[in-house]
């Protein structure tokens, strides 16, 4: 990536959510390529479009919602942790006791939906509390999220259809199997998500 676009992306990561950053980047990427096509240098482009820091300041001032630190992010992270903890405790208790009472679809599916909604909200709409060295972690999070979703679906599948077939004393094997399912389904969900996010980026204007 060219230095101007790289700097702009870095600055945008500091104070805008992923969605807004993708939208602004898509527009500036377009302007940048048009200028390059005309033979303008990086300096001329920076003079005409403005420095990355100045653009981000102007855009953030205009949006006014996002600051460098959003205290609500802590509450959101806490909520997501609670949801995840509840889901894993269900899984763990069903493995230990052999009871599958809590692992029925009436509880698990809404929980999974809640988890997806919570993490999506956290990652794609309002993740305003981003500092430079967290960017790499952020890029990995969609994969982790897909992994969790994949694992939960696998756990449900095994419990639903194999619980009565498999003897309880080999339940430790059951604990490993979801990871294999999860890994495969994670890749699938991850690539679908990647494509979907790209489409969103081209659809929005600002």
């Amino acid at each position: 990536m060219d230095k101007y676009l790289y700097d702009l992306k870095k600055e945008l990561c500091k104070c805008l959510s992923n969605n807004k950053r993708i939208c602004v980047m898509a527009d500036y990427h377009e302007y940048y390529l048009d200028m390059k096509k005309e033979g303008k240098t990086e300096k001329e482009i920076s003079n005409l479009l403005g420095s990355p820091a100045a653009i981000v300041k102007a855009v953030a001032d205009d949006i006014r919602v996002f600051g460098r630190f959003n205290p609500y992010i802590i509450i959101r992270i806490f909520l997501v942790m609670v949801v995840l903890l509840l889901l894993f405790s269900q899984y763990y208790s069903s493995l230990c006791t052999g009871e599958a009472i809590l692992m029925n679809e009436f509880i698990l599916f809404p929980s999974i939906l809640l988890e997806i909604a919570a993490i999506d909200y956290l990652l794609y709409s309002r993740f305003a509390f981003v500092i430079d060295n967290v960017s790499a972690l952020l890029n990995a999070l969609p994969f982790l999220e897909s992994f969790v979703i994949g694992m939960l679906i696998s756990v449900w599948f095994i419990n639903r259809y194999f619980r009565n077939v498999v003897a309880l004393d080999i339940s430790f094997l059951l604990a490993l199997e979801p990871f294999a399912f999860a890994l495969i389904s994670s890749f699938i969900v991850f690539f679908i998500r990647k494509k979907y996010v790209k489409v969103i980026a081209y659809e929005c204007t600002a």
Binding site: E30, L33, D34, L48, G50, A54
Partner: protein, 105 residues
């Protein structure tokens, strides 16, 4: 020129430019505004475009480009045409008033 004054006028200029050309892409608009008003504050044109889009005065269509991602081509919506007429009317009225004061002996 005063930055605040410039900001307000950029929207009027963008609307009338798009109206004349029927369809324009982002960089074309930025370049033309920059030619008219030199040293426009950073992101002014971009944010003005965004505001006009959010107010549903303009819309955009993605058209493929051989140089990279698809380009957004902006065109005026009917609400935009009405807004432009109103803005032009206000502008003419305003310049008449100001001219009177300037030229008054």
């Amino acid at each position: 020129m005063n930055a605040q004054l410039k900001k307000g006028l950029v929207e009027l200029c963008i609307l009338s430019m798009i109206n004349k050309h029927k369809e324009m892409y982002g960089y074309e608009i930025i370049e033309k505004v920059e030619q008219g008003f030199s040293n426009t504050p950073e992101a002014t044109v971009y944010l003005a475009l965004k505001r006009l889009y959010e107010k549903k005065l303009i819309d955009c269509v993605l058209k493929s480009s051989q140089y990279g991602p698809p380009r957004k081509y902006y065109h005026l919506l009917s609400a935009g045409k009405q807004e432009l007429e109103a803005m032009v009317g206000e502008w003419k009225e305003l310049t008449e008033i100001v001219n009177k004061f300037i030229t008054e002996d």
